[in-house]
Subunit: 352 residues, 4 copies
């Protein structure tokens, strides 16, 4: 078993996605522990109450609302639906998951349109992305969807991280024009580890109104969450989620996962394992003269690799995604221990 | 702990909802067992493949498609969205969960309208329900939503069960006019136990096209499922679910639950415990001259009770829902063991 | 030609719908007159500006917003979409056009659900309709669509008229619970003539927030309108209408129609012709012992008629709608002059 | 009055939009003539029947369905909604009206997403636009909206015309991948005049399934139309239009306009006036060394003009749209007679 105690040489190495990894033991234990007696359904349970306190404490904010959901797509699309009118536009980087990988979910839930924007060379928006978009917007003209919210992804879909000042500067430009700010934090823990900042710094202190808090890619069983900073949208989201089928009756088992995830820094410890695995992997590949397209600072890297080498890696028992003929995406997870990395590099070196 | 080995006298008795119960040990074990190595996300994993085989075998149908989802609302609303055009009408009993308790979910996902119908005295549609509705339909008139699908609930929201011939007769009337047939089986196992029939009998052999297969109310952790008999709608549902945020990345943990649920009759054993608990409870209440509004054959009963008695029960540590001043709903679960029932009756008798 | 100067005996008599009538000459003249020079598209023209002033004056309200639209369905559904959140419920009488005849338009534009209610014996809501509905509403429960707006129809789809105190009383009950009030006035002029009230009395002074102002059934060429009392929703409606394709580029030709319609009481004069035609018709039918189901006070009546008589009428060259085996709907219009009525009665008498 | 017999020197010259022009006399006469006797509402009238025959004859196609609508936005968005599933993507040029100027109408009606593509230097798609888009599409992957329909605009929003072979080549690439083809023909007559082709050539013979047939910009009062080649989608569109509020009760007045528009080549004669006005205007501006961004072949041109000259034109009584500091859009119409053009050029020359 990968990442387990088995014979590593006998199994394929998993570098396709952090979704492919399983569950952190602390989180599985929390699920089992929540199976205690009857508990009201739909969130009226002690685990969900505790989760709210935990999020308030970890994010250092008095007035949060937290909604566990089963996927990042649900967190993003439904979170965004509370931030835009139907005639609004959601501004985001052109590589954002919300526009590329969610099959129109945001349009389904909000009826708004997406407006993908170019940014810097590393998949991030810059203040000028918005400035340019605003300049070509016909504000107040009913022929055109009106910019309502900007969505940033931290870390990005290119595996890069917004420095705090860049994140805040984009949010500032948005807020000055009356837009709200959404953060897709599917891998937020991995970014926080890199930035070494407080969770508050990368969210509400940077101007974020609503956060998609990822957990599943980093060791949870089956839950991510929408976090609102300022509970003003809590009632609206409660209805939006229910009618979307995203209010689990046994919510306590999601809340227990999230609570464990955020307790005693577990989320950051898990992310650290994943980030360090990628760093070691990238170092090893550099020794083979294989280089990343962007400096990989979290647990995801995109590498330029000669096609025959890509084929050879696959033959040698390494699993990954091929993004183009000569480009691969490698993703590590909390299960990618140093042993796994070493074995991966052994196989890759043998064939490079 | 209720239903556990603890001191029963010290805890409140849970008769509010089967959602309040926890997880069957076999299912929790299956979740833990699925945490084995890397597995492709979004359903391309061995557990999901095995689930398809399991459903095909249990329901004795060669061409099924199965989609785990996080709630019955999602199963119903998204399943129905594949059975009606936007200008269609979903016909159902006026007490159906889809029209009373899902906050417009079906309209959200399908853009169709609900058309609630009267039925017999026990919350069930009868063939005449459809005959009457069809007679007042202006077929082919674009001013009116056109009947597209009938949704029945088995067992019903009144805790009653459609006899197979009634279910089939309603479905026949529907199919003769070209409608499709949906079954909300949030508690399907409880009905199958009562009917003593094969799962196929109560579904596709009775004319059902798409089933909402409940599991959460009967011991699963966090999953129900959409089951299509005839995979013709599988591709469509795959997209509909994804853009609704209802495709879990670690789907294998849902599939493992459902697979365990359907293995070796676990679902029917769990439902039997719940049904028998309700039967014993109703017998006991009859001794107190407290009677059900409908003959309770599954794990849910509605009882006429004098208001002071209702108050006294609550004071005595029994939890339940009050539907009206003099009506309570009692629901048992796989956790409502004979000891729990005895304790409940002891408390209720003392105060009745 | 019916209603023209031709030989009446040679043509069929039109009593199917006021939609079947043509255009009032004053309105056709206004359209021709608006074809003067270039004018900005999409409402930035002098005719639309004048329409706003006209509506403000006729309805005696300082802060109105007016949006010409091509159909009553558009006026109703899009008007309502600005009065309810997606998780809201639109309460209306169970015979209302918005629920019976618009093929789900309100759900399309608002994503809300309809909640049809019973009323009095004449197709009207009563305060108790809302009181009962509110009593069975689980307020604040996200499982259930929340009452957001009540829609009344004046005159109703049964050809009856709300007395002002009944209209106001229903609106009061609604407003006390925070609901907004919509009035479907597809034939509003016909009701105003009956009530002898000011347009303000039957709308904002009775608590109406948004009005669907009908004109097409009463002599306009191709336009009805949404009228907001209090322009707070004007910006929202502007976007909602544009993205619904309901902002005509040459809006001035709609505005000119509506302006002429409301000028010098034309709308009331046209409605008076239609109402009087129905009164004469009903009197004549009473002489044949044929009676209305509801006292017909406007231009629409439903009559109980023996089936062979119905057939004979049709054979005698009278066109009408058959609602049931022994029920017909007769509708008069501004074109149903006394001569036409006399000819209709002559034919009907000969065969009754 | 512009285009009338008045004193041209006294009025502003209208070059903002062909929407600003009024109604062709033949069309106004047809509206008046349709006010003859009673006629069934909602299209069951002789004028609408005749329109179908007219469209079949003019477009040389046996199996057409025609739906008059009040705006090009309605024609585009509702027409497209019948050509894509909710999880589909609508591919179009990045300057297309459907993506830039309709405030998300297509997403409202279809729930699909827009995928704007680059094309050639003149605002047109090329086969490679689709080839590139298809190459980066993850076909059959439910994470991504699937290309379902390509929408081309003829003439384009840049005032240019697709040669027939380019139009057909793009359509071919689309059809080979199973996409359907939509044509936004808001100014179709202007393109047909330029191409000198049959209406069939530029529509179904080039692979077009559904056409938005513009009339309002070219002399109609208040109507455009959806034309389906192959009536397979007629029933679906009938419901989609009704629930969108786009079925006018007095449809005969729209049908009469369209019938007159297409009779004896009126539409082409009107378009010829407009096109020739632009040609003369462009020639005159060339003499002032003012040049178009694209060769203007229809009635719309974009010109590079020095900012002080732009200001001077406006001061001299010429109305137009300013697209950028140094770019204006000039649009002529069927009302822009040679006299009007001469006067415009006189004013522009005096100030250039």
């Amino acid at each position: 078993m990968i990442g387990g105690g088995g014979d590593l040489a006998a199994v394929r190495i998993e570098l396709r996605s952090d979704n492919a990894a399983g569950v952190a033991p602390e989180i599985l234990a929390a699920v089992a522990a929540a199976d205690a007696g009857g508990a009201m359904a739909y969130g009226a349970d002690p685990w969900t109450a505790r989760l709210h306190e935990r999020v308030a404490a970890v994010f250092d904010h008095d007035d949060v609302a937290v909604f566990p959901v089963v996927s990042g797509t649900a967190a993003n699309a439904i979170g965004l639906s509370a931030l835009t009118p139907p005639w609004g536009a959601v501004l985001c980087h052109e590589t954002a998951h919300v526009v590329v990988n969610e099959s129109g979910a945001t349009s389904l839930f909000s009826s708004a349109v997406m407006r993908p924007l170019p940014g810097d060379d590393h998949g991030r928006l810059v203040p000028g992305s918005l400035v340019d978009a605003f300049a070509t917007t016909r504000w107040g003209d009913n022929h055109q969807s009106q910019p309502a919210v900007v969505s940033m992804t931290q870390p990005t879909d290119r595996g890069t991280v917004y420095p705090l000042d860049q994140l805040g500067a984009v949010a500032d430009v948005a807020r000055q024009r009356g837009l709200l700010v959404h953060l897709d934090g599917a891998r937020l823990a991995n970014a926080i580890v890199v930035l070494g900042c407080a969770p508050a710094d990368v969210t509400w202190r940077s101007g974020v109104d609503v956060l998609s808090l990822g957990a599943t890619k980093n060791g949870a069983l089956s839950t991510d969450a929408i976090v609102c900073f300022g509970a003003v949208r809590a009632e609206e989201l409660s209805y939006r989620l229910k009618r979307a089928g995203h209010v689990a009756s046994k919510m306590r088992f999601q809340s227990a996962q999230l609570d464990a995830y955020l307790t005693d820094g577990l989320w950051l410890r898990l992310a650290t394992v994943a980030n360090e695995a990628m760093a070691t992997l990238a170092d090893g590949l550099a020794g083979l003269d294989i280089h990343p397209l962007h400096p990989p600072t979290v647990n995801m890297g995109f590498f330029r690799v000669a096609p025959p080498v890509i084929d050879a890696w696959a033959d040698a028992g390494v699993d990954f995604y091929r993004m183009a003929k000569d480009e691969v995406r490698l993703v590590t997870s909390f299960r990618t221990t140093p042993d796994v990395v070493a074995e991966a590099l052994r196989r890759m070196s043998a064939t490079a």
